[in-house]
């Protein structure tokens, strides 16, 4: 049984369908990430799950009970807490801010004091306890907002881009708190992010969102290695996306024709199928001489541009198939790659992801 389910949920704001037929399940004790570009509808979805807004159609259940925003069902809504993307703090001390959720639940001062002091220590905020929260920096404020939501120990904690405006160090601290919360068994977290690596570090399950729909849902490994749509592929780092057509097939080994060239791929789709070929730039090998290797696809290309970054270098190749590759900067230097040079690009067949066109 899922802790929370979202069924056939849509949201219309004015003329626009911000969310279209969303289905989602939250497993208890896991971190779920909603991953997508800005404007995909992540915040809208999280606000509906957080019972701050109502969906136009569809519904949400928690422990198989249907819940609705607006209804003053404080028992149920107190199981959910949300930290907004741009957190606001109350115009009072940090201590009072963190105590808010406990106070409105009518807990005794002794319990409140114990819990608040404990979480402030845990978050390293004890030195700001009596400082007005509005005087804090953005990062500290974000931590106050997180502590304030976590101190009430909601069963479901919703975080909208919790590290979007933070520096690397604070961002790392916040990620630790997120993991601690879930792994210590306090509750389940659903969070949005547009940071691919963060999704990879934290999530158990990933939903990829695009233009108001969830284009793929699954555990981390599946989504990262087997994207099901071109949008997902592009978003999770398959920078090379080429369109072609299956022209030949022997068992599961198919030949895809892309303009003049052909590429061997693994696919069981029938001959004649139009497909998108997705390829991560780090799965392309560059050689000066024609390699004698197991890679089935090797092309002669001309280097168009080389951008040295640390530790990887991005090489743009121009042949009949334009390719973007990512190799270590040290090998780029060893090979003395310069624009205009002719090189061989090899692609492992197993690294190619084939997505049939809809």
């Amino acid at each position: 049984m899922s802790l929370l389910t979202v069924s056939n949920l849509s949201k219309k704001i004015q003329e626009w369908w911000i969310l279209k037929d969303i289905n989602l399940r939250l497993e208890k004790g896991k971190i779920s990430t909603i991953f997508g570009p800005t404007g995909a509808g992540k915040t809208t979805l999280l606000r509906i799950i957080g019972l701050l807004d109502e969906p136009t159609t569809g519904f949400i259940t928690i422990n198989d009970l249907e819940v609705k925003a607006g209804i003053n069902n404080s028992l149920l809504r107190r199981k959910i807490s949300m930290v907004l993307q741009k957190p606001v703090v109350f115009n009072s001390s940090v201590w009072e801010n963190v105590a808010y959720g406990l106070r409105i639940r009518g807990l005794s001062y002794d319990i409140i004091k114990k819990k608040v002091d404990e979480i402030l220590n845990n978050f390293g905020l004890e030195k700001y306890a009596l400082v007005n929260a509005r005087k804090l920096s953005g990062g500290e404020m974000q931590k106050v907002a997180l502590a304030r939501a976590m101190v009430v120990e909601p069963e479901i904690l919703i975080l909208d881009e919790p590290t979007a405006n933070l520096d690397i160090k604070t961002s790392g601290e916040v990620e630790e708190k997120i993991k601690d919360y879930v792994y210590s068994g306090k509750g389940t977290i659903i969070m949005s992010t547009h940071d691919l690596q963060q999704g990879q570090r934290l999530a158990d399950h990933i939903s990829v969102m695009h233009n108001g729909t969830i284009t793929q849902y699954g555990d981390k490994g599946t989504v990262f290695h087997h994207p099901e749509t071109v949008e997902v592929a592009r978003f999770i780092g398959f920078d090379n996306i080429l369109t072609g057509k299956i022209v030949d097939r022997v068992n599961d080994l198919s030949l895809v024709k892309i303009s003049e060239h052909s590429l061997e791929v693994i696919s069981n789709k029938p001959i004649g199928t139009e497909v998108d070929i997705c390829l991560r730039p780090e799965d392309i090998t560059i050689s000066i001489n024609r390699p004698a290797s197991s890679a089935r696809n090797t092309y002669l290309c001309e280097i168009k541009r080389v951008s040295y970054l640390n530790p990887l270098t991005r090489v743009e190749l121009d042949g009949n198939i334009p390719l973007i590759c990512l190799i270590t900067s040290s090998s780029a230097r060893d090979l003395q790659l310069t624009p205009g040079m002719k090189v061989y690009a090899s692609i492992k067949t197993t690294a190619i992801r084939v997505i049939p066109k809809k």
Binding site: S74, R78, I80, L84, K86, F90, I104, A149, V152
Partner: protein
């Protein structure tokens, strides 16, 4: 020029010696305007809250109307209350005309639009996502609204002080409904108007100084309070 200077010195003397009539008028003025402000606040703060937090048809029109009444002439409020409570008026039977009670009522009516309007501005000045934050931390709707009102406390207190300032300094309404009866309904502003006409410059100046002092105190409080606002 010497006449004014003499008057000024006499006025200071009246204040320092705590002249009985001067003190009596000053305290009556304070009492009436404070009562009016208190009554109006008790009514207007929740009303402002309702107007801010609940939507209904015609809400914009109501708010525009309230804002129009910010600068309603005090004599018009006086006239309205006078007609309502005069012998032949609908509430004439209450026999309230020319009593301190009706002066309180008149001033309360006078400052109602300003108080409601400024309460709405104070509440709408609070970050919109604050209510969401309160709700998502488990607050009920009522608790969330109380949180927002607390958040707007500095602006709301400023609004109350401002309303008190308007009440204590107005003359049109209290002179019409109070009648400026010596020892009964005479307040600072009406006394100044009368004594100046009668040529009692010292008394006018003394009362004027006190009125000025009250205004300055209110503004000082306002300043101190707003500086505490982080």
């Amino acid at each position: 020029m010497t006449e004014i200077w003499q008057g000024f010195l006499k006025a200071v003397e009246l204040i320092i010696t705590l002249d009985r009539e001067v003190m009596e008028i000053a305290f009556r003025s304070l009492g009436i305007s404070l009562s009016a402000t208190l009554i109006a606040s008790v009514l207007c703060l929740p009303l402002g809250g309702i107007l801010q937090f609940y939507s209904f048809t015609g809400k914009r029109a109501v708010i525009s109307l309230i804002q129009t009444f910010y600068s309603v002439p005090t004599v018009l409020v006086g006239l309205f209350v006078f007609l309502l409570f005069s012998r032949s008026g609908p509430l004439g039977g209450l026999n309230l005309l020319f009593t301190p009670t009706i002066m309180v009522l008149g001033q309360a009516i006078l400052i109602t639009p300003v108080l409601i309007g400024l309460t709405i501005s104070a509440l709408s000045g609070v970050d919109k996502s604050l209510k969401d934050t309160a709700l998502s931390l488990g607050a009920t709707n009522t608790q969330a609204i109380i949180t927002i009102i607390k958040e707007a406390r500095f602006s709301i207190i400023s609004a109350i002080l401002l309303a008190f300032g308007r009440a204590i300094s107005e003359v049109g309404c209290v002179i019409m409904v109070g009648g400026n009866i010596r020892g009964f309904t005479r307040v600072l502003t009406t006394a100044i108007a009368l004594e100046t006409q009668r040529g009692e410059i010292e008394l006018s100046l003394a009362l004027g100084l006190i009125l000025l002092l009250i205004s300055l105190t209110v503004n000082l409080l306002l300043n101190i309070y707003q500086q505490r606002k982080v």
